[in-house]
Every structure is written in structure tokens, then in C-alpha cells.
């Protein structure tokens, strides 16, 4: 019987109290053996909670546990060797990690890439580039699989053939956000893993996400913030990482840019500045990146008109109206030129009638 699993399935008893109880009792098996009187003596629980603990022993967690294993998940508690060593060092480590895919191992350098969900196109592209470049030199990318920067970093890693781990704020079998379904699948297929401290089936709840950030920070050697607003979950992750003594890097933003405020603030507080991905890799003692994936405009011979349209574009989405105004072309000419540039994969239409340069 897996006593650690039993311990995490008791409703209303959180990680912190589990840890305290273990400090008293020694191990999960001992906790299982505690009588009502002994439990009351710990002064950790209200009477009804004690009842709840005792009642939970009657549940069929043995079968539930096997069902879980059969469904391809695993459970790893602090009592096991396989539990990531670095997580033991943080404050309030999760007693149990549930996971899907490959279990986490600390053999490689790990980088967390975090940032805003409502990010800009530029931010997404940068996150993808950093994720790709670092995993191409063997780093493992860790993130929260959220929309925006998180997904960008993880997709970058996957596209570069690297591995990545996602730490969720819901059960590891629950794909949240649902729009990340493709990412969820790809992570599992590409030798990565999904981790969570919450039992399978746990619904995403707002309070659980800042909690999971401590695991993201705890699993990584370095935390990279790509785009973050001043008050954001990314900065919570950074605070937790600082408490754990991790290095912080941030991608500088423009001033007056709401999405750059958080990063610029971090830089002003002493975070590392990412201005060159190769240098970042060197900084992290990773072997340099081959620059195969960086495209250069000079490699393409563009027509004069196409060049003009291309020069009007930016990493911020530009609307069709703006382009018409700037280039003074007719709608039809512009439509043809834009389509040509899209075919050459130099630009992308990221929203309807909004165009952006591709990195």
C-alpha cells in the first residue's frame, strides 16, 4: 500500500500540515498507524478533521492508486530516492509529486521561462527563441504551460528537439488551459513530463497557481522572465526563486511598455539582462548555439516594393490600415505584396489584418 498517496488524498489537509505531521511521526506509514488520541495530541487538527483522517482509511485508495498507475501516471513522494533533490531544499516542498511522462531528473541544467499570458507577439517570439536556443545546447526548459510566454518557451524547446517539463496548478491529468492541449501532448511525446503536487482530477483554482510557482522556481537553476507586467504571477515566481537563491534573468522591455515594466524593474533590482541569446548560453555554461535558425533579411532578394512593405513592419503587430497609410499603395497592391512576404515566411498575419515581422 502507498501510504504517501493516501496522505495526499485526505480532503482539507494541505501540504504544510502533512509536512509537520511527518516531522512528528517520521514517515507516512507511521502516520497511517496513528490512533485518534495520537492525532488529537498533535494539535494540528480540529476534531472533525481527525474524524476525516480516520474515515479516509476506509477508502479504497489501494485500488485508486493502481488505477492511477495503470493510466500512465506516477506518484513520487519525499520518502523516495527518485524525488528531485533540489526540491527538498526549498521551503514547503511538495510532499508528493504526481506526474505524467518522464520523471524529472536533475542531470541537466534547468531553466524556467516565465512571463505574461497576454504577451505581445514580440514576447512570444523571444520566449520561443530563448527556449529553442537553450534547449539546443542541452538545457531543460521548465514552465507552467500557460498561454503566452510559458507556451512560447516550451514550444521553442520542443521545436529545437529538447525536453521540457510543465508544472501545473491542477491535476497532472487535467490539461489547463485547454487551448494548450497540443502542447500538453507534444511535451509527453517528446520525452518531457507533466508535474503537479495536486492529486489527479484536481480542478484549476486561482489559489493553486502561485503555489505551483514555487515548484517551478525550485526545479530550475535559472529563472528567465520574458515579458511581465508590474503586478504579475511571474514576479511571484521570481520572488520565490530569489528566496531559494536562484539566478534571475530578464529580457529588457521598452520604457512605457506595460509588458516591459516587470522585466525592467527586475533588471533595476540586479537581474541579469538578456540581450544576446548566445551570450546567455555562455553565461549559463552551455555550449554555444549554432546560428542556423536565425534568419537574415540579406539572404533574401526582395523586390523594391516588398522591401518597402517589409521595412514598415515591426515586431509589434501593424494593422492593414497603418500599412496602407505608410506605403500609400492601393489595397490590392498591398494585399499581393503582403501575401508574397507571407509566402517567403518573412512576416506573419498573426491576427486578421494585423501583420508582424517574424524573428
Amino acid at each position: 500500500m502507498n501510504y504517501a498517496y493516501w496522505l495526499t488524498t485526505i480532503p482539507g489537509i494541505g501540504n504544510l500540515r502533512i509536512l509537520r505531521l511527518l516531522a512528528m511521526a517520521g514517515c507516512a506509514r507511521e502516520v497511517y498507524g496513528l490512533s485518534k488520541k495520537q492525532l488529537e495530541k498533535t494539535h494540528l487538527f480540529r476534531p472533525e478533521e481527525v474524524e476525516c483522517i480516520l474515515a479516509s482509511k476506509n477508502g479504497d485508495h489501494e485500488r485508486e492508486y493502481h488505477k492511477l498507475i495503470e493510466s500512465g501516471m506516477y506518484v513520487c513522494s519525499m520518502e523516495e530516492e527518485a524525488y528531485p533533490q533540489r526540491l527538498r531544499d526549498i521551503a514547503n516542498p511538495p510532499f508528493v509529486l504526481f506526474g505524467r511522462g518522464k520523471p524529472f531528473s536533475a542531470a541537466k541544467k534547468t531553466v524556467a521561462i516565465v512571463g505574461a499570458r497576454q504577451c505581445s507577439e514580440y514576447g512570444y517570439a523571444v520566449a520561443k527563441e530563448i527556449g529553442g536556443a537553450l534547449s539546443a545546447c542541452g538545457a531543460v526548459v521548465i514552465s507552467g504551460m500557460a498561454r503566452g510566454i510559458d507556451a512560447g518557451g516550451q514550444w521553442g524547446a520542443l521545436k529545437a528537439g529538447g525536453t521540457t517539463y510543465a508544472v501545473l496548478g491542477c491535476g497532472a491529468d487535467v490539461c489547463y488551459p485547454s487551448t494548450s492541449r497540443n502542447l500538453y501532448q507534444a511535451i509527453l511525446e517528446k520525452n518531457g513530463g507533466i508535474l503537479s503536487e495536486y492529486p489527479p482530477g484536481t480542478k484549476p483554482r486561482a489559489g493553486q497557481f502561485p503555489q505551483r510557482n514555487r515548484i517551478i522556481a525550485g526545479l530550475s537553476d535559472v529563472v528567465i522572465v520574458v515579458e511581465a507586467r508590474k503586478k504579475s504571477g511571474s514576479l511571484i515566481t521570481v520572488d520565490l526563486a530569489l528566496e531559494q537563491g536562484k539566478d534571475i534573468y530578464a529580457v529588457p522591455g521598452r520604457i512605457h511598455d506595460a509588458l516591459g515594466e516587470g522585466c525592467n524593474y527586475l533588471i533595476s533590482q540586479g537581474a541579469g539582462i538578456i540581450f544576446d541569446v548566445e551570450l546567455l548560453a555562455k553565461d549559463l555554461n552551455l555550449s554555444p548555439v549554432s546560428d542556423a535558425h536565425t534568419q537574415n533579411l540579406n539572404n533574401f532578394s526582395l523586390e523594391k516594393e516588398e522591401r518597402l512593405v517589409y521595412s514598415c513592419l515591426d515586431l509589434q503587430p501593424k494593422s492593414l490600415e497603418e500599412l496602407l497609410e505608410k506605403t500609400q499603395y492601393s489595397m490590392q497592391q498591398l494585399a499581393v505584396l503582403l501575401d508574397g512576404l507571407i509566402q517567403k515566411e518573412l512576416i506573419a498575419e498573426n491576427f486578421k489584418n494585423y501583420y508582424v515581422k517574424r524573428l
Binding site: N182, E322, Q333, L338, F351, N353
Partner: protein, 511 residues
Amino acid sequence: MYSVVSTAIIHGIESIPVFVEADVCDGLPVFEMVGFLAAEVKESKERVRTALRNAGYVLPAKRITVNFSPANIRKSGSGFDIPIAVAVLAAMGVVAPQSLAGTFLIGEMGLNGKTQPVSGILPMVAEAKRQGIGRCIVPPDNVREAGLVSGIEIFAADSLGAVLAILRGEPGGICGPPINIEETGEEHKLDFADIHGQKLLKRACEVAVSGMHNLLMMGPPGAGKTMIAARIPTIMPPLTADEQMELSKIYSVSGLFRKREHLMQERPFRAPHHTITMQGLSGGGVVPKPGEISLAHKGVLFLDELAEFQKNALDVLRQPMEEKTVRLVRLHGSYDFPADFMLVAAMNPCKCGYYPDMQRCRCSAQSVSRYIGKISKPLLDRIDICVEAPQLLFRELNETQAEETSKEIRTRVLETQQLQRERYRGEDFSYNSQITGVKVKEYCCLSQKQEDYMGQIYQKLNLTARSYHKVLKVARTLADLEQSRDISMAHLKEAVCYRSVDRQFWEAARD
């Protein structure tokens, strides 16, 4: 003694002749009215009795019966006071029966005998003329409207006394001033030249009107969407005489015509507020009155803040958009109102209005998707052209460069529409937007290269069969605008830019 007076009621936007018969005979003194009467017509009895007494005519202590024929149609409206009074007086022998032959009477009456205007005069007088009636006596406020029908004599009577005077052949009735039915040449007050910048929107409007495509504009508040929409009627072709009459009838029936001096010559622009109900849009009431979609007949129905409209109100648009008419069925019959309008809608891209400007928009992806999702798919499917209306740059606002006037744009639109009408002679549609599914292949044929390109686009943009057809129809209009026989690659590429939004397209195109 028996008498009969011609009058009419309104049914939909048409008029049905009604005869008011009166008979005074011996019997118990009673004033009885029969003939399927609505409450307001029954009340008329008291008004007539009092007004007659105040005018110096005492009703005899006899049995007075008033009948409205035909008896199978429900009579409603307030215009029966004058016909009843005159019929009763004729039955009493005060008015000569021969003076009533070939005379049409209508008007509400106060207790002092003064006449009040009624709505729906135009269709009534037009119908009276068709029936071969020679003269109409109407309240003074209705005289301009009645005068729009040529070939029938119009008299204005401000009181019962004046009506009787006209009937006796005395001078005293004010004849309506001659009214100019020809185009008065009045220029539109609004003009596209007023708008600086917004080239994309202007172009989209021109294309939309040319092929009679419905249009959706998406953009942040203050982008000038309403301003542009209000100018769309100015680039539509002028109304034909029949259309003017039809439209004028709709406005007449709705009581919106009174102060006009000529037929409706400008195409209407209706912009109902987004709190409008289903009935407000489609038309409603026990005796149905035209709704906003009929008031926008042959013109533009502009729905600002499309996503804020009630869902069921918007869904009412679906059938009229296909059939160009709306049929309302009531207990006492069904009513058809014409509703051939061009739908122009505007909406914000998200709740705050700034998406996809991530500097300002803080809506979550779900909330954006939910906002777009408020508009039902079938309605979006009926909108061919969709464009972004970004906020105006300051430079554009201050531009002094002369912009194209509505007149110049209209010339091109006229040519394009003419081309389509010729091409579709013999078909049951006349504009590109109305090409039916099976005919798309025939009229929008593509070369092999173009088909390959569209195949790619189909895959990449995840189009549906319907949205694919819409792109082709818009490309057809673009080709027609250049008087080109074939659709070129450039036309297709431009048409792709105007494709409609859908929840799935309206998300960042990422992995």
C-alpha cells in the same frame, strides 16, 4: 335614408378600401356601429356624436346604424371620425349623396370638430387613385403627403365644417400646394470626403456597396466606424421612382413622413440602439407597424456594438436577409413588409475594445473569444466583408489632402452594379453577394493556379465551404470594380483580407 362614404385602412404598407355606410330609420333611438371594429374605432361613436352636436347638428331620435364594409377585415386606426360623421349627416339628409361619389375621406376629429392628421395617408391616396376616385379630403397636416400622388385632387379640411363646405362645392378648402415629385437635386449633407484616412474602411465600403455585400467593421472605440457607416447611403445608386414610392409608403405608415416635401429620395440610414427588441427590429404590434429593418429598406441598417444586441433580436435578421422581406403573422392576418437592406455592423474586438493591442487590452483570451462568440454563426455567415478599423493616427486626422467625394465613388459603384445586372439577367439575383451556392462555380471561375492558391488558403485559414464562397464572391466584385472579366490573383488576395472573423480566426495564430 342610406348613404356611403369611401375611406381606407392600412394593412401592412398597403391600403385596403373601406366603405362606411350609414342608415337612419325609425325605431328605438340608438347609435350602432358594426363591422369588425377595433376599440379605437368603437370609441369614435362618442367623438362623432359630440362633434356633431357642437357643430350644430342634432342627431334625430331614430335608429342610426353605421356599417363598415367589407366586414371580414378588422378596422383599426383613428381616421374614421370624419367618414362616420359625414356618412351620418348624409343619411340625415344634410349632405347631398351625389357629392360623396368619387370622394375619399379620412381624418380624426376632436370634440370641437377640428381634424387631426393620421398616418399612412400616402398608400391610402395612392390606392384611392387606383380605384378611380377623383378627390380626397384630408386633414391639413396630411396634405403634403397626399399631394405626392399625382392625378387626384387633394383638399385640406381643418374642421368638419370645412369638409362639408368642400362637399357643397364652396370655396374654402385649402388645396395642397403643388409638390415637386422630380428629384429636387438636394445634395447629401454627408460626404465621404469628410473622412480623412481610414483608407481600408473606405475601400471596404465601396466594395461592399458595389456587390451589395453586408459589412462588419471591427475596431476600438473612436475609430470612426459610425461616421463611415452613416456615409454609406451616399455612395449607393439613386432610388428609382418605384423604390421611392415604396419607401415613402413605409415611412407614411409608420407616421414618420409628415414634414417631408417630396418622396423619400435619399436612401435611409437606420441606426437602432443595441437595446432594441426583436419586435423593434422586425416590426410588431397587434396591428403590425414596420420595424427598423423595413425602415432601412433599400438603405443601410447600421448595428453599432453588434455584440451587445440581444441574441434573439439579431437572429430575427436571418430570414429577412435572405428573403428581403419580413412576414408577420397575427390573429387577424399576415402582414408583409419589405426589408431589402444592406447590413453594416460595427463592434469592438473585445470587451475593452483594444485587442489585439496588448499594451492596452487586458482581456483574457477566453473573454475575447466569448465576446466574438456572442454573435451567432449564421449571422456571421451572412456577412461577406469584415475589416479592421484601427484607431486613427493623429497624422491622418489632421491631413489636409483632399479626399475622394461620395459622388466619385458612386460613379464607380454604379458602373459595377450595372455590369452585374447585365451579367445576371435571367437569373433570380442581380448582385454578386446573392449568387447562390451552385452558381458560384459558374460566375466565379478560377484558373488552375488560382485554385491551387485557394486550396492552400483554405487549409491555412481553416475556411468553411461557406466562407470560401464568400471570398470568391467578394473577389468577383473586386474584378467587376475594374471591369475585368476574369478574377485575377490580386483580386483573390485582396478578397482574402476581407474574410470574416470567426472565433477560431480571431486568436493569435501561434503553434
